[in-house]
Structure formats: C-alpha cells, structure tokens
C-alpha cells in the first residue's frame, strides 16, 4: 500500500469511527423509562383472591405434662363455658449444697412471684391458699395435668392470700423446715438421691373460688434466713400443677373449644395442590380461624367487670405425625404462628412459603395439621373457635391471593 492509499484508508477509518461514535453516544446516552401507552398495553394480569373452606376438623384431648413449665397455676374459678376449675400447684426446693449453712434457728420462707397480667377470673378477688405438705414423691418432668396430688388437709404448712400483689413471702412451718434441714445438713454420700426419693415438697391448694393465678417458677424461690450468717435463696427443683375441671358443658353449636393445656386441640387435612388452590403464582396464603367473641364475652357478662379470661395472643399451626402426638405439640417445630387479631377476632396463619413448598414436594400423607393455643407454658388459656358449620364468614378457611395471567 502506498502513502496515498494509506492516507485514504486512514481517512475513511477515522470518518467511520467518528460517525459511529457520535451516533452511538447520542442514541445510547438518552434513556428515560417514562410513562406512555395507557390505552392499550394491558399487563394482562390481575390479582385474585379466592376462599377455600376447611372441612373435616376433628378435636383431640390429651392429659399432657404440666410440670417444670415456665409457670404453674394455682386458684379456683367457675367458667360458664369451660367448667369449674381448680388448679393446685406443687413445688419442691432444691437441696442446698453441703457448703451452704442452714442454722438450727434458721427461718424458711416461700417466695412466690405472680403474673398478674394473665389472671383467669376476677382480678380483684382476694384468693386464699393453704400450703400443705405432700405425702407423695413426684417429679416435675413426669407430672400430668390431671394427676391428683396426695396430701393431708390437716398438714398445713402455711397460708396466704393474694389480691393484686406481684409477689408474696410466706413463712413456712417449723416442722416442715426441720424436715428439710435434716436432708440439707446430711453429709451422707447419697444425700441427693435420698432427698429426691423421700422429700415430697409442698402443694399450694386454693381455698376460695374467684381466680386462677400463674406463678413464675423461675422467679419464685425458697428463702433460708440464717440469723448469724448469709441468707440463702434456694430455687425450686420441681414444680407442677394439677387442673381439675368439673361441670364441663359441651361447646356451643358451631364452635369447638381450644385449651392451651392441650386438653383440647384440633386436627385437619388441607388440600394445597395446584388444582385446588388454582394457581402457582401465590402472593399470600392464609389459614384463618375465627373466635366466637360473642359467646365468649356473653358468658362472662353476668360477672363483675373485673372478670376475664387469660388473654390469648397467638395460636400455633403444626404439621406432625399423629403417632407422635401429644409430645410433639410441645416439642415439635411450628409451621406458622398466628397473632390474634383483636379487630377481626381471628387467627391468621401465613402459610404462603409452606404452600409454595407443597407445590414442589407435596405433603406426606401420614402428616396432619394441628392447631393449638399459645404455648403450654403453665398459664391456662381457653378459647372458642367457629367450626365448619358456622356462617360462611366465620368458618375456618384458606384465603389465597394470587396473580392470574389474563390473556384472552
């Protein structure tokens, strides 16, 4: 290529690059999403809300563990809907270590810390209790709700009353304290096992009917006051409560009862297949249960205004194998927690993610859905839920919000 040809080629290349660069810059440099085309550019989608009724709900009842929970309840109350209830508490102190001193002249008290926010009954009622020595050996981990504590009514160790106090300290009898001291001051090698097998502990027995109060087991303790040395705070080793219900009426029509104690839970199946749900483009899938507020409130309308039931803040949905019931109700994983909606009087379980997984993996046929109230914490909570016979707006249902492709 000679010089003239080279210059000609270079000139053309430069011109080409300049033109292309300028136009590219002008064209690419302008980008503005903007807003046009409202008249005919439908997105061809719509948000739809469908309702599917839940059928085949069954109730199950269990006598579940009531020991070594966060709380244990004591008291007595007659609920027109849920029966005449009597809750008797049980408590046994830890055995102090051999290095701790318990003087002959020591004084022993029981300090009980109450949760006054979840009173079941008349909050203004002054409840009366006797603390009575048990005459049976028991373990908190093995105590069931319907177990009957054995004690001699005459073996009263102390008594107390509770109105609105957050806590109370009760002096325990000398005789009972001496019985404890024998184990506490023992230097035998098997003092712990001997104590566990032979020392029965105390029952907190209601003597008046008016309310049931939860006792915080972690905050409550025994106090050993040594006159000339340190005061000892001895936590509880075992605690539990028994609940006796009498005169229990059937649930009002179109409802079923739920108890946080697992005395009654419900189970059912759900068809979450695409064919039943109607779409795979799910935005929200809710399982909804409605409380029968009118029946609940109406049943207490003849009682003092300060009377109420322990408030319920949530309910739990689990998918479990029935053969593992009831223990799995306490220990199993929760599929969804529903907060109680005060305005609507409902429990709404968000099962969107679960339904999406069902679209892919399905539901094992051996599993069933269970709904229970709150957690079994030792606080007695009860509710009345509309069943599938209730009016349509109150029946248990699945509400599906999804995006529908609407090309036509």
């Amino acid at each position: 290529m000679n010089t003239a040809q080279y210059r000609a080629l270079a000139s053309r290349n430069i011109l080409f690059l300049l033109l292309t660069s300028c136009l590219t810059f002008l064209i690419v440099g302008c980008e503005d999403p903007g807003v046009v085309g409202g008249g005919f550019t439908d997105t061809n989608t719509a948000v739809k809300v469908d309702t599917l009724m839940v059928n085949g709900i069954e109730t199950e009842s269990y006598n579940f563990y009531s020991g070594n929970l966060t709380y244990f309840s004591v008291g007595q109350f007659s609920d027109p809907l849920f029966g005449d209830m009597k809750a008797t508490g049980l408590i046994r102190p830890q055995l102090i270590s051999t290095s701790s001193e318990m003087a002959d002249t020591a004084n022993m008290k029981l300090r009980l810390v109450f949760n006054q926010d979840v009173i079941y009954g008349d909050s203004l009622h002054t409840a009366e209790f006797d603390i009575i020595e048990l005459n049976q050996v028991w373990r908190g981990n093995a105590w069931n709700l319907k177990d009957e504590p054995q004690f001699d009514e005459n073996a009263t160790v102390a008594s107390f009353t509770v109105e609105k106090e957050d806590s109370i300290e009760v002096d325990l009898s000398e005789s009972w304290m001496q019985a404890y001291r024998e184990f506490a001051t023992s230097e035998a090698a098997d003092r712990d096992s001997t104590y566990r097998i032979n020392f029965p502990g105390l029952a907190i027995v209601p003597k008046s009917s008016g309310k049931i109060i939860p006792i915080d087991a972690q905050e409550s303790d025994f106090i050993i006051e040594n006159p000339e040395s340190d005061t000892l705070q001895v936590s509880a080793r075992d605690w539990a409560y028994s609940l006796d219900r009498a005169n229990v009426s059937a649930a009002p029509s179109q409802t079923f009862k739920l108890h946080s104690t697992f005395e009654q839970v419900i189970n059912f199946d759900l068809d979450l297949t695409r064919e039943n749900i109607g779409s795979v483009n799910l935005s929200k899938v809710e399982l909804v249960f409605y409380e029968d507020r009118s029946e609940l409130d109406g049943s207490l309308s003849q009682m003092p205004p300060s009377t109420g039931r322990a408030p319920i803040t949530s309910a739990r949905l689990q998918l479990v194998e029935p053969s593992n019931i009831p223990i799995v109700l306490q220990t199993g994983s929760i599929l969804s927690n529903a907060n109680y909606d005060e305005e609507e009087g409902s429990y709404r379980f968000d099962i969107t993610s679960f339904t999406n997984s069902v679209l892919i993996d399905g539901i094992p046929s051996e599993l069933k859905f269970y709904v229970s109230l709150e957690t079994n914490s030792g606080i007695i909570r009860s509710s009345l839920i509309h069943d599938e016979e209730a009016p349509a707006e109150k029946r248990p249902k699945i509400i599906v919000t999804y995006v529908q492709n609407q090309e036509s």
Binding site: M1, A4, Q5, A8, L9, S11, R12, F16, L19, T20, L23, T24, L26, I27, V28, C30, E31, D32, P33, G34, V35, V36, G37, G38, G39, F40, T41, D42, T43, N44, T45, A46, V47, K48, V49, R274, V280, N281, L282, S283, K284, D350, T352, S353, N356, S357, L359, I360, E393, T401, Y402, V403, N405, E407, S408
Partner: protein, 433 residues
C-alpha cells in the same frame, strides 16, 4: 380490579408487545441505506437476503485465472425509540425513551458454479419483541372494603428467527430464480413481576415462555433487461414470495419459588389457560420491485411488500384480540444509490457509496381501527476496502410510527446499522498460457 392509565412505561417499541413482535424484513446492508428490501437488485460483493434469485449472480472475474467471490455479511444495529402519548398528567404528554441493541442477520453466500449457481446460508430474525410495561392492579382485600395495590411489570423479549439454506440459479443473463428452505425457531419470553405495596404479601415472579419450530419456504425471481433506454443501463424486476409458516409451539409458565434463605425452586406449568401446545401461523409474504440503473454510478429503486397478517394465527392469544389488532401490511419504498467510487477517482468523497431513500409502512397492527403506520427516512454510506472487495456499510434512519389518537403511542425512531461485508476469492483457476 382496575388498571390506571398513565402509570405505564416501556422500553423498546411498545408495539412489539402484540402478537409475536414487530416483523423484521429480509434485506441487505445495501438496501438498508434506502429503507428498501433489495428484492430487485443486488450489489457486487454484498450479500443479500431479500431475493434468493440473486444468489446465483455471484461476482466472478478473469485475471490471471478465473475467480469467484464468497460473501459473508453480518453486523449489528442500534435503535432509539422515543414514545409519547396524550395521557400524561394535566393534559400533558407521557414520554419515554429507550434504546435497543441487536445483532443483524448473518449470511454466507458461496458460488457453486461460476456465473450459474450460488448457495446461501443465513441466520436472520423474522420478528422481534422487546418491551417493558408497568401497570398497577388494585383489588378489594378485606371485608371492610380495604383496597390493596400492586405494581406489575411485564418485560418481553425474543422473537422468531430463521435458519435458512437456499440456492440461486442464473438461468441466463436475463433470468434468475432461487429457493430457500428454512428452519423457523420461535423463542419468546414474557417475565411478569408483581410487587405488592402492603406488607404480608410476597412478590410474585413468573415467566411465560413460548418456543417452537416450523419450516419455511421462499422463492424468488429476478429479470434483468439490459440496454433499456441507453447503453450500459438496465432494468431489473424482482419478486419474492415467502410462504406461510406453521410453527408447532409450546407455551409454559415457570414460577420461581424461594423456599428458604438460599433455596429457589422452579415450578413449571404446562396446562391451563394460554398454556400447552399450539400453533403460530406466520402469514404469506409477497415482495417485488423495480431497479433502474442509469449507469454504474447511479440507480433508482422502488419496491413494495405485502404481508397477510389478517391470516396470522396464534393459539396462545398473548393478549391478542386478532380481529381487532392485526391487519394486512403494505410497505412501499423508494431509494437512490450513487456510487462514485466506480470511477476510480482519488477524491476523498468519491471513494464511497451513497444511498438514500424513504419508505412508508402501514404496519401489521390495526388497533381499534387505527393502523400503526411508519414513515422512515434512510441514508447509507458504504466504505469499500482499498485492498480487497470487502466493504463496510453504515445506514441511518429516522422515522415516525403510530399516533397519539385513541390513546395510542407515537414513536420517533432513530437508528444506525453497521454491516461488515466480506468478499473473498474462492475459485482460482490459473489461466493456461
């Protein structure tokens, strides 16, 4: 549920949302500079797709032997679209701007028999769909009359492409014919994202995917009449027909499901409304034109195109109300080509090819009785290589499409195309001394 007009936005031409997208014509880089098709002419050493009959008219020469050139052509284009409507706030216009960068067709033309038969293989788009639309959905979400809102975004992409193999046969110096068979591939996707404004709702994402294959057939004829009005002039009459294509397609919906922190599963649905198997039926296409070359430097071309979109079939509907939205398409173009470089002049501006033209296109869309027409002004510059027969073609176009009447969109279109045309000697038969 309601959709609020004036809350929508898109990128690319909004009209590509309808049906299978905007049709892409069979052309050549030389025809692009005029806004024409190239059905009635072909340029030496520049591959063209418009008329299979031109593939037998390969450049061959005698110089120290006999040689014919193999041609290849490919490139890309960049188009900027500015859309306006009259649905903006307070009576003002809504406005959007966007750019689309895409590859042109790629073609390889090979001589099989000197001055007789040539073959062509190409990959070329037949339709293109590229849009983004935002809308709003509202619905009653509770018994108390609460109304919730969600924003929906549709992004469409893809189109129909053709893998073509054909031949051209120069029967004699006046008549050429050609045929091309093609494998037609449809691949279109619409991604839908719905974002809910209220908490408690999960974002819904899914895509509608349409794919399928069919077979196409094209025929072409070219008649050359030399010395019509004077020496060294010629008149060429070209025609091509593209038979209707039936594409056996399948449409599925794929939904992404987030099941955990790092787990995403895909649910595929192949049945239901607008899903499953069906057919896409592309229409009959007829094109023809006249090119009169006064001399090797100057020629005039007029060409026309007809596509029977009223016969289009789409079993999946895609928002297409066929009776209302598609109609037969007519396109007419007129262009001029001026090639001073053939004189061999050393002047700078004489070393290029110049092309210009104007075209009018009724479009294939007929929305609520309104045709979406396009008028396009084109200009092209060809840069021949000084050391070979290859060249580079750059074409520019500016046009107006659509209307703001009846809540439609008027688009201003700026575009540039770059094509690289390679010409290499494939036969060389030494001349016997």
């Amino acid at each position: 549920m309601a959709q609020t007009p004036g809350d929508q936005a898109q990128t690319g031409s909004i009209y590509s949302k309808i049906g299978v997208g905007m049709p892409v014509d069979f052309t050549s880089s030389s025809a692009d500079g005029m806004g024409a098709l190239g059905v009635s002419f072909n340029e030496t050493n520049v591959a063209g797709l418009a008329n299979p009959a031109t593939w037998g008219n390969m450049a061959c020469f005698e110089r120290e032997g006999m040689g014919c050139f193999a041609l290849a052509s490919g490139g890309f284009s960049l188009e900027h679209v500015q859309g306006t409507d009259n649905l903006g706030l307070n009576g003002s216009s809504g406005r959007t701007e966007s750019s689309v960068f895409s590859a042109n067709h790629f073609q390889l033309q090979l001589p099989v028999k000197k001055n007789r038969i040539g073959i062509s293989a190409s990959i070329t788009p037949l339709t293109r769909s590229n849009y983004s639309i935002i809308g709003r959905n509202t619905w009653a979400s509770g018994p108390g009359g609460q109304v919730d809102t969600a924003t929906v975004r549709n992004v469409g992409s893809g189109g129909i492409n053709s893998l073509e193999l054909g031949f051209g046969w120069e029967i004699n110096r006046n008549i050429s014919v050609g045929y091309a068979g093609s494998l037609v591939l449809a691949s279109m996707e619409k991604d839908v994202t719905t974002v809910f404004q209220e908490s408690g709702y999960q974002t819904v994402e899914y895509s509608m995917q349409t794919s399928g294959t069919g077979f196409g057939n094209r025929f072409g004829a070219l008649i050359t009449l030399p010395n019509v009005l004077k020496q060294r002039d010629y008149l060429r009459i070209g025609a091509a027909v593209n038979l209707p294509v039936v594409i056996d397609a399948k449409r599925t919906q794929k939904s992404e499901k987030q099941l955990g922190t790092n787990t995403i599963e895909t649910v595929t649905v192949s049945d239901g409304q607008g899903l499953g198997s069906g057919e896409l039926r592309l229409p009959l296409e007829l094109s023809g034109g006249l090119t009169y070359q006064i001399n090797p430097r100057l020629s005039f071309t007029t060409e026309a195109l007809y596509e029977q979109w009223s016969d289009f079939g789409y079993d999946f509907n895609s928002g297409l109300r066929k009776e209302e939205q598609l109609g037969d398409r007519y396109k007419a173009a007129f262009g001029i080509r001026y090639f001073p470089f053939v004189s061999g002049s050393n002047k700078f501006l004489s070393r290029f090819k110049y092309r210009a033209g104007v075209s009018y296109d009724t479009g294939h869309l007929n929305i609520d009785g309104k045709k979406i027409e396009t008028i396009l002004f084109s200009a092209g510059l060809g840069v021949p290589s000084p050391n070979s027969n290859s060249s580079v073609d750059i074409s520019f176009h500016y046009g107006l499409r659509g209307t703001e009447a009846q809540n439609l969109v008027k688009e201003s279109i700026w575009g540039v195309k770059l094509s690289i045309n390679l010409a290499e000697l494939v036969f060389s038969q030494p001349k016997l001394q």
